[in-house]
């Protein structure tokens, strides 16, 4: 197990390097320059390129990124906040923390609500609650985040006035409710659907009947035998879900004016702010890779048949 984790971490570093290389060449492949505006003269652009080292050969530029990243230096912003340190832009003013907090809250909400709802629907298959849940989850998977966010804002903040509109400071815990619902709703529905399907499969298995014959209580049959055997598809979904929740927060953060990191993912590309593109991409890639590692380790716990040794059976 230990050597497996070490291997995975080494592979993760290689993957991040690969992501950096690909991102670097892709962003340079787009014609134009961060300094190109209607007013700028060729001399100004030349000067700026010189200043930020954009005249160097690509391979040297890439090397500089990699070396500086290992030193913990993310470079300076070229355009969005010219001259400001990228590390400060991303991690300053709690931006990263706010996004992560929002993301983790949504992730927890979707797991805590999605799995029990799916179990309930599976156990009461064909009941009116199952039917209602099926309609809600289908709608939930189909409705885009921005529609849901807008509807929530209009109903609960504007018309009813129950929840605050401007979430600027996020000091008020109530301010989290709408963003978290908007962000998590799709995932709640998707997890509930996944859980229902795999739970239905599990509860019709023979070993559930065996457990009943042993005299296991219903509650334990669900928790110990059925749920454990139906969690694999759900856990698999959690890896990409985490990444989706962090990046997906752009729309939600914009709608609810939350000062998070989300907007930098998109605006840095539009602005050709190379160092910010690199930093956000590497951050996201690391997050995805880390979550996939967590998922693989969790697999081991819920399905002991999975072994990570290369030994041939």
């Amino acid at each position: 197990m230990f050597s497996y984790i070490v291997k995975r971490i080494l592979a993760a570093i290689a993957t991040v390097l690969l992501v950096m290389t690909i991102t670097f060449f892709l962003m340079n492949a787009i014609p134009g320059s961060p300094f190109l505006t209607e007013k700028s003269t060729p001399q100004q652009i030349e000067l700026a390129n010189e200043k930020y080292g954009l005249n160097e050969p690509y391979i040297i530029q890439l090397k500089n990124y990699v070396v500086n990243y290992f030193k913990g230096d993310l470079g300076v912003s070229l355009k969005m906040q010219e001259g400001a340190d990228v590390g400060t832009i991303i991690f300053g003013q709690n931006k990263f923390l706010i996004s992560i907090k929002l993301g983790l809250l949504s992730l927890l909400t979707s797991i805590i609500l999605g799995i029990p709802l799916g179990c309930y629907a599976a156990y009461h298959r064909g009941s009116w609650i199952d039917g209602l849940l099926r309609v809600i989850t289908t709608v939930g998977v189909a409705v885009p985040t921005f529609v849901l966010a807008a509807v929530l804002l209009i109903v609960f903040a504007v018309k009813l006035g129950w929840l605050p509109t401007l979430s600027g400071s996020l000091d008020n815990p109530l301010a989290y409710i709408m963003p978290v619902i908007s962000l998590a709703f799709y995932d709640i529905c998707y997890i509930a659907k996944l859980t229902r399907t795999s739970m239905l499969d599990a509860i019709n298995q023979d070993y559930i009947r065996t457990a009943k014959a042993k005299g296991v209580k219903n509650k334990w049959i669900v928790l110990k035998h059925a749920l454990r055997n139906s969690l694999i598809p759900v856990v698999t979904f959690l890896g990409p879900l985490t990444a989706g929740i962090i990046t997906g927060s752009f729309v939600v953060e914009t709608t609810f004016s939350i000062p998070g990191l989300g907007k930098y993912f998109v605006e840095s590309v539009l602005n050709r702010d190379y160092p910010i593109i690199m930093a956000t991409t590497v951050l996201l890639a690391s997050l995805v890779i880390f979550m996939n590692l967590v998922v693989d380790i969790v697999y081991k716990f819920i399905d002991p048949r999975i072994t990570y040794t290369s030994k041939e059976a």
Partner: protein, 332 residues
Amino acid sequence: MEERKKLLQIRDLKKHFAIKRGFRNKTFVKAVDGVSLDIYKGETLGLVGESGCGKTTLGRTAIRLYEPTGGQIIYDDKTIYDGEKKIKEPMLPYRRKMQIIFQDPSASLDPRMTVGEIVGEALDIHKLYQGKNERMGRIKSLLDAVGLNTEHSNRFPHEFSGGQQQRIGIARALAVEPEFIVCDEPISALDVSIQSQVVNMLEDLQAELGLTYLFIAHDISVVRHISNRIGVMYLGNLVELAKSTELYKNPIHPYTKTLMSAVPIPDPEKTRARERLILEGDIPSPMNPPKGCKFHTRCPYATARCKEEIPQFKEYGKEHFAACHMLETYGA
């Protein structure tokens, strides 16, 4: 012959499954439709019949793995289910006494649990040990009893062969020291060479522990080998019940006769000389079974009476029961 004690009595037991057809439209599959049966302590009662005749459902309903639709179940002189009087005893104490071995050994073992956990879970539920050492000792002796290596308790079911998996299933059933075991086609999923091993083991265990079996199978030769008495089922009903030698030599119900004539004999001379009875048509749908005697659609001797009236299950010879109008009219 010594005094025989009735261990399990089943009276007019019914199990109907509801099937939804369209909106608010339910039909019922009458998998078991009024079966009465006594099982004596220490005996093996074989149960045979075609696929879909309800023998598995009967086995599972008898120990209330399926909740019956109607009838009575009396275990050791105590009523544990009565459809009319609405008696539904809590099953937990009876799960210790009545166990079941399932047909598909690989599917009936939780793939996420080790063999030790599978066997140990039954011990945990019924609190059959004091301290961890005794628990481990019990698990090991159970594995030993079914001929498995005691070091296998940390392995997972998929690491075993079909025969070994069935042994795990048997060890699991034996863990609670039951008196009565439903063997639901315990060998039909196994390789022929393994079948006899498992059957012999079941017989040895019976002799050693004084077990009572309800042995369900579709292979009459195996059932004859292991059973004291044999019941024949057709479309949710018992059509004939007799001692196994008697049933073999002298089947009286037309359905049993055709079943017996289909058993292969390992002698080509005899096979050629034998009169082979072949049934017309297919087994009717249990959703909409024929009126009267359910067998009349395929019975070569069916009369007008058979189409209208349900035949009584009566004794025609010594401990030889059958349900057929023809026997009533002409005798066995």
